[in-house]
């Protein structure tokens, strides 16, 4: 039986035009997302990992049409979001929400929590006017905040609490898909654990599907069912969690895993040190994008972009050497 995919992303492309100099006519393109495809079955968590500048956030935003993709299809429950007109898209926004990294910047400082959470409920008419107050109180309770907080302003909360408000706002419209864009990265570790547990509880309770975007592999390992690794605008490896952590295939995935400091000082991990820095995504090399830093690079890697191939049960790798 075919899995019930709530989200299917097909050949998603987002290029940003950049001018080389003020007056030059030739345009270059920053290929932030370049031909990305994946799907998420209902109720699962896909972890999208990569380092800064790899295009993971752009991918998340292009999926929700917060920015317009250059090309590609995004099917939410079989319906292509890029074929919807304004009204239909607005209606569809109820089903997909996002939680941002910075809980300080993503809440309007002039609004009370009641307005922040209530706005979406009103707009999408989630519940009737009479039930709204009770509904909001229940929402706050679910994210672990008391109902008296409804009258407070964002500055009166700590970072962890603000993130809880961001979650309450996202959940207010009863979405099916939630994009978590570095949602726990700005939090202290003890608070991060609380929020991660909250994510899990809510996911189980409402059968939510998460696209969990982060740079932190340990967090991704904890929360995801499957993992996709991005490098310079492309997915280089995609596998379910167990396979990925036991048997990472792409040289970049291996380097990434080996770079994470082990929390056991008596267990020294063999470290694969990468040469140099991330290549610029403006006019990236025509061959494999990881070529210049890859410890296993061969001559073919310079010329031809490696296609994605399956090396085992749903385990996709884009590498010539594998």
């Amino acid at each position: 039986m075919k899995k019930d995919n709530i989200l299917e992303v097909k050949n998603l492309v987002k290029w940003f035009p950049v001018k080389k100099s003020l007056f030059s006519k030739t345009k270059s393109y920053l290929k932030a997302v370049d031909n990305v495809s994946f799907s998420i079955p209902r109720g699962e968590v896909l972890g999208l990992v990569g380092e800064s500048g790899c295009g993971k956030s752009t991918t998340g935003r292009a999926i929700l049409r917060l920015i317009e993709a250059t090309q590609g299809e995004v099917l939410l429950e079989g319906q292509d979001l890029y074929r919807l007109d304004k009204t239909a898209l607005k209606e569809k926004r109820k089903d997909m929400q996002i939680v941002f990294q910075d809980p300080y910047a993503s809440l309007n400082p002039r609004l009370t929590i009641r307005s922040i959470i209530g706005e979406a409920i009103k707009l999408h008419q989630v519940v009737g006017e009479k039930e709204r107050e009770a509904f909001m109180e229940e929402l706050l309770y679910e994210v672990g905040l008391g109902k008296h907080f409804l009258n407070h302003f964002p500055h009166q909360f700590s970072g962890g609490q603000r993130q809880r408000i961001g979650i309450a706002r996202a959940l207010a419209v009863r979405p099916k898909l939630v994009v978590m864009d570095e949602a726990v990265s700005a939090l202290d570790v003890s608070v991060q654990a609380q929020v991660l547990n909250l994510f899990q509880d809510l996911q189980e309770k409402y059968g939510l599907t998460y696209l969990f975007i982060t740079h932190n592999l340990s967090v991704v390992k904890h929360i995801s069912n499957r993992i996709a690794v991005m490098y310079l605008g492309q997915i280089v490896e995609l596998a379910d969690k167990e396979t990925f952590f036991q048997n990472p295939q792409h040289p970049y995935s291996r380097a990434l895993l080996s770079a994470i400091p082990s929390s056991n000082p008596e267990l020294k991990r063999e470290r694969i040190l990468l040469k140099g820095d991330l290549t610029s995504p403006v006019d990236p090399p025509q061959g494999c994008r990881f070529f210049s830093r890859c410890p296993e690079a061969q001559s073919i890697c310079r010329e031809i972009q490696p296609p994605q191939k399956e090396v085992g049960n749903g385990h996709l790798v884009a590498c010539h050497v594998r």
């Binding site: 380092e51 800064s52 700590s158 962890g160 202290d188 570790v189 003890s190 608070v191 991060q192 654990a193 609380q194 991660l196 547990n197 899990q200 740079h215 592999l217 340990s218 967090v219 390992k221 904890h222 929360i223 952590f245 380097a255 990434l256 895993l257 080996s258 770079a259 994470i260 400091p261 082990s262 929390s263 056991n264 000082p265 008596e266 267990l267 470290r271 040190l273 990468l274 820095d277 991330l278």
Partner: protein, 328 residues
């Protein structure tokens, strides 16, 4: 026994505010031996950065030290005049910060900024300073340093900028390098490069490092000793292997259990309930007692001192005779 380079003894610092005097550091004690790395770990607001700033005598104007001493090579740094401390700062003790972009001056080339340090502290002439600068840039692994020396900070990547900061900090061969979250703003693969570089240079230049971080993994990889700070106090000080094998303080244990790791798989993360109390609401007894699962009445009344316990130091009543064993 190894030689002591830095000793912070019962340092207390507070801030004068409209709410009265707020004690930000409470009797903080740390020891750093020559050639070693001491990792200071804690969450935001635990006082780890303030501790390091006070060593450099850089505490903000509204803050003041109300007790304790900072001994560097036997000298009490707090008794030194501004002129004397300036001779030490950047020369014998230097510092690198979290965000390399904001700690480099954007209108000077990186070479000029490193040369300034050498000319000031070592009275080097222009030519020698430039040669030494290029040599330092090569040492920290910057490719073609002869060209890069004239680059401006914005022309370099985050990892390269942090390398420049390290080159600058180490240019006078300091005895002590204070690194305040040196890799927090960097990607993991870059972080691995920088951590490797730091421990390599530590061995080559015989520099001791005070490493401040919130990342226990970084501590495990690089430090010899670790000090755990919570709400302005050192709650545990231990040799690093022993610490990770058997953390003593309830907060240390909670911290370790709340972090997802690659080695272990857990269904749920254990959490430390609640949040760090603000300075205005600091409990009178143990500062951790509002979040501790093992709390006894004693903990709410009296703050536990930092006591020796099996070769480590821990600030918890549990390891004293005054603790009442729980009947099983």
């Amino acid at each position: 026994m190894s030689e002591r380079l830095l000793e912070v003894k019962e340092l207390s610092i507070g801030f004068d505010t409209d709410d009265g005097f707020l004690p930000a550091l409470d009797k903080v004690s740390l020891t750093l031996n020559k050639g070693e790395t001491l990792g200071v770990v804690g969450e935001s607001g635990s006082g780890k950065s303030l501790t390091s700033l006070s060593i450099m005598n850089l505490i903000p104007a509204s803050g003041r030290a109300v007790g304790g001493e900072i001994l560097f090579k036997g000298k009490n740094l707090q008794e030194l005049g501004e002129e004397q401390i300036r001779r030490i700062r950047g020369n014998e003790i230097s510092m690198i910060f979290q965000e390399p972009m904001t700690s480099l001056n954007p209108v000077y080339s990186v070479g000029e900024q490193i040369m300034e340090v050498l000319r000031l502290h070592q009275q080097a002439d222009k030519k020698t300073a430039r040669a030494k600068t290029i040599e330092m840039l090569r040492l920290v692994g910057i490719p073609s340093p002869e060209k890069r020396v004239d680059d401006y900070p914005h022309q370099l990547s985050g990892g390269m900028r942090q390398r420049v900061m390290i080159a600058m900090a180490l240019s006078c061969q300091p005895d002590l390098l204070i690194a305040d979250e040196p890799t927090t703003a960097l990607d993991v693969t870059t972080q691995a490069q920088i951590l490797d570089l730091m421990s390599d240079l530590k061995d080559r230049l015989h520099t001791s490092i005070l490493l401040i971080t919130h990342d226990l993994g970084v501590i495990a990889e690089t430090a010899d000793h670790v000090a755990v700070m919570y709400a302005g106090k050192v709650v545990e000080y231990a040799e690093v292997k022993r610490f990770f094998r058997e953390p003593l303080h309830p907060y240390s244990r909670g911290l370790m259990n709340s972090i997802p790791t690659l080695e272990q798989t857990r269904e749920r993360l254990e959490v430390i309930r609640g949040v760090v109390p603000t300075l205005q609401q600091m409990p009178t007894g143990c500062r951790f007692c509002t979040r501790c699962d093992e709390k006894q009445p004693l903990c709410e009344v009296e703050s536990p001192p930092l006591l020796d316990y099996q070769g480590s130091q821990v600030s918890c009543w549990k390891y004293t005779e005054r603790w009442e064993p729980v009947p099983t």
